[in-house]
Amino acid sequence: MRFVVLVYQDERVWLEADDAARERWTAQHAAFDAGLRDAGVDLVATEVLHGVDAATTFRRRGDDVTLTDGPFAPTAEQLGGLYVLDAPDLDAVTGTLGLLPEYTLEVRPVAAL
């Protein structure tokens, strides 16, 4: 079944990181990719998003449309990227997420419509 993994992190952590930290994260992402293969999980798609400074929020109420700059919800941890995974079950997904850097990850199964 398919799962979307939403990756949340405090953007400042990324912006203020030194080269050593970035290298460590890169290695962790590589380990994650390998871990997915070992767990029999297919990486269907993945995207990394620009920061919330680049976000636009669109709201419509009846005929009124407002565009505002910035994210939908102004929280410390923001959506920074996502994975679409095809996995046998939730355990196969959560079993590999520990290989990633310390993000907060929300796992949502894709509804079969």
Binding site: F3, P88, L90
Partner: protein, 424 residues
């Protein structure tokens, strides 16, 4: 088929339905979850089958093989639902051969024989770490044991409506979150054990809190809990939590034949015939406890409870009970858990050793935590009665009566209430 004429006796059919529920519910749910990978659908199918049985058995008689009848019916209902919803996940065509049905039904027809691992898988699935702890317990009691929602609510000390909502939410989550119906590998089994042992102990306790079983105890629930615990102990040898829990259950279960008298009335610990306790089980439990070192967390809680139970089980006569040791174990347990129910047990032990007034003092401040728990006013009433404060005792016992489940406990409370109102 049995004689249809006999089937018209409503009491017979009710008894057959109740027996079938106890014997087959969890096996049927487990089998259907295994086949259709949907707990909700499985439970609905089994519920449909029992509903169909309640409608047709009075007319056509109780079938010779109720389990097979229920399985066939439940499976057809699940398939009907799948067809009508068009959410069928499997690739095979929907052809169920009667031959196959009979083969699977045969597995459910063997009470006491080998129970398929399906049931264990069901327990572990219900105890998945992605579910809230309270939901894990509720789901297991509902799915694996087939307890009614109101009984699950009573065991968890919450209101029926709240439990109903929780179960609905938890079932939806179980069905959609991607939780697998499998036994996880050993390294991932650990994280589920606290929930699993909690559930097993609640299941065991359920056997001793009957609300509707005539004649009182649902020994089968306690047997089932012990069986599942042994099974897990076999799967995960040497775990302190399972060992200590198994010892605790065996010690409490060893008194099963003496808890009620012939008339179904509650017999208190000091009045029980100790020669009729199962001393082989007591010995086994004491041996098991000997292999569990002092530890931490849940394992230590079970160990302390088991040590307290062992004090009772190994005292030859009631007056030989080392109440100070029992009270000390409960004090340790209370320090670890802060549990009001443990405090209640400690108060009883202290009252036995140091007199009712000392016990009563320990009950102060428990009312908010145990508002809907009949045991608190029951214990308080008992201790007040022993302290010679009959009027206060009567008020407490009346309150307990209003909260206690029908049956042996209510009968006992009524008896004590009569004692409290008898001048002298």
């Amino acid at each position: 088929m049995s004689d249809p004429a006999a089937g018209t006796d409503g009491a017979d059919v009710d008894a057959a339905l109740a027996a079938a529920w106890r014997a087959h519910w969890s096996h049927l749910v487990a089998l259907l979850v295994g086949q259709f990978a949907s707990p909700d659908l499985a439970e609905d199918g089994v519920a449909d089958a029992f509903e169909a049985a309640a409608r047709t058995w009075p007319r056509s008689g109780v079938p010779d093989n109720p389990g097979a009848w229920l399985l066939t019916t439940a499976r057809r209902r699940v398939l009907d639902r799948l067809r009508s919803r068009a959410v069928h996940r499997r690739k095979e065509p929907l052809l169920i051969v009667d031959e196959q049905l009979r083969a699977v039904a045969a597995q459910t027809q063997d009470p006491g024989a080998h129970v398929p691992d399906d049931q264990l898988r069901l327990v572990l699935t219900c105890c998945h770490p992605a579910l809230a702890v309270a939901d894990r317990v509720a789901l297991t009691l509902r799915f694996v044991v087939g307890l009614r929602t109101q009984d699950v609510a009573r065991l968890q000390l919450v209101q029926h409506t709240a439990m109903s909502a929780r179960l609905t939410r938890a079932k939806r989550r179980l069905a959609t979150a991607g939780i697998a119906f499998t036994v996880p590998p050993p390294e991932r089994l650990d994280e589920r054990m606290d929930a699993v042992t909690t559930v097993l102990y609640l299941l065991f306790t359920a056997g001793y809190q009957p609300s509707d079983a005539p004649g009182g105890l649902r020994v089968d629930l306690a047997d089932e809990a012990i069986r599942l615990t042994r099974e897990l102990d076999r799967l995960l040898p040497g775990r302190a939590d399972l060992r200590a829990l198994l010892a605790l259950m065996l010690l409490q279960h060893s008194r099963r034949d003496t808890r009620l008298d012939a008339a179904g009335a509650l017999v208190l610990l000091p009045d029980q015939d100790r020669t009729r306790w199962h001393h082989d089980e007591i010995a086994q439990a004491v041996d098991l406890l000997g292999t569990v070192p002092p530890g931490d967390g849940r394992a230590e809680e079970y160990r302390l409870q088991a040590l307290a139970a062992a004090e009772h089980a190994t005292a030859a006569r009631p007056q030989d009970t080392r109440w100070d040791v029992v009270a000390a174990r409960y004090a340790e347990l209370e320090a670890r858990t802060g549990s009001p129910v443990v405090r209640l047990a400690r108060a009883v032990a202290v009252a036995e050793g140091a007199g009712p007034e000392a016990g009563l003092r320990l009950l102060d401040g428990l009312d908010a935590d145990l508002a809907h728990h009949h045991r608190l006013p029951a214990v308080r009433g008992e201790l007040l009665l022993r302290a010679g404060r009959a009027a206060e005792a009567a008020a407490e016992l009346e309150r307990a009566l209003g909260l206690a489940p029908a049956g042996a406990e209510q009968d006992h409370l009524r008896q004590r209430l009569a004692d409290a109102r008898t001048p002298g």
